[in-house]
Amino acid sequence: MSNALWIAVLAAALGTLLMRLLPLLWMQRRLKRLGDDAPEAMPQWLSLLGPLMVAAVFGVSLVPVTPGPLAWLATVIGMLATLAVWWRTRTLGWPVAAGIATYGAVVTLFG
C-alpha cells in the first residue's frame, strides 16, 4: 500500500473508533452529573433507539446469503423453530442451535 493509502486506512479506523468511544464518554459524564437516576438519565430517544437498532439488525440479518424460494422457506421454518424453543426454554443457546439445525435440514433435504 502507498503512504497515502495507509493514511486513509488510519483515518477511517480512527474515525470509527471515535464514533464508538466519544458517545460513551459523553454519556458517562452525563450519568455522573445526574447521579443516582442512572437509567433515567438517558434521553428517551436514545433509550428507544437501543432496542430498535437491535430489531433493525435482526431484520437485515433475515435476508438469506443466497435469496431464493428455498432459502426463504428455510428462513421462515428456522425462525419458527427458534421461537418455539425460546418460548419453551427461555435460553440463548438452545434456540440458536435449533434454528440453525432446522435451517440446515430444510436446505439440505429440499436443496
Binding site: A38, M42, A56, F58, I100
Partner: protein, 243 residues
Amino acid sequence: MSLQAATSPVRPWLSGMREAIPLLGGYVPVAISFGLIATQAGFNAWEAVIISTLFYAGASQFLFVGMIAAGSPLWLVVAMTLLINLRHVVYAPNLAPWLTSSRWWGWLMHTLTDQVFALAHARLPQLPEAQRLGWFTGAALLAWAIWVGGTALGALAGGELVARWALMGEILPFALPTLFLVLVAPRFTSRRWSLALSVTIASSLLLTLLGLTNVAIPLAAVCGMLCFQFVKFDTAMQGDHHE
C-alpha cells in the same frame, strides 16, 4: 446460557465467550469473504488483516476495499466509510448505564459492532456489576479475534474454502438471525413496543431487499421510533406500559 439468569457459576469471561459463539456463525463466512475480496482487490494478506483489525466493521470494510479497487479519491473513501459507521454512535450510550468505572471500557468500545451491541444490550443488565467487564471482554475479544482470523483465512485460502464449503457458507450465517430473534423477542412486552419493533424489522428487511443494506439499520430504527412516538394505544384498555 439462560437469558433470565442474572449470575453465572463459570468465570465471567468464559461465560461471555460461550454466549458469543452464535455470533461466530455469521462472522466466519463474512470474514473469509472479506479476506478473499480484499486480496482480489489488490491488497495482500497482511493488509487485509490490518484493515480487519483496525476497522472491525464489516460493511464499511467491503466498501473501503471496493472503492479503493475502483480508484475512488481517498477522501471520498474515508468519508463514505465513516458515514456507514455513523450508526455506531448510539450503541455505547445505550450500554453506559451498565458499565462499571474501569478504564478498560474505553478501549473495549473498539469491539462494539452491531452484533456485539445486540448481545451486550440484552445481557449486561442481567449480570452482576462485578461480572460485566469480564463477560464483555470475553464475548467481544472472541468475536474480534474470529473476525481477524477469518480474514486471514479468507486472504490465504478463501477461494478453495468457498468452493469446498459452499453449503456451510449458507447455513452458518443463519446463526445471526436466530440469535437476534432471541434477543428481540423479550422486548415484545406491549402492543406499542410490538408494533414499533415489527415496523423496524419489516423496514430493515425491506430496505435490505432493495439493496440499501448500508442505511437499513439507522433508517429502520428511526421508522420504529416514529411509530413508537406517534402510535399510541389506550393504556387503560390495553395495559400498555413503557419499559
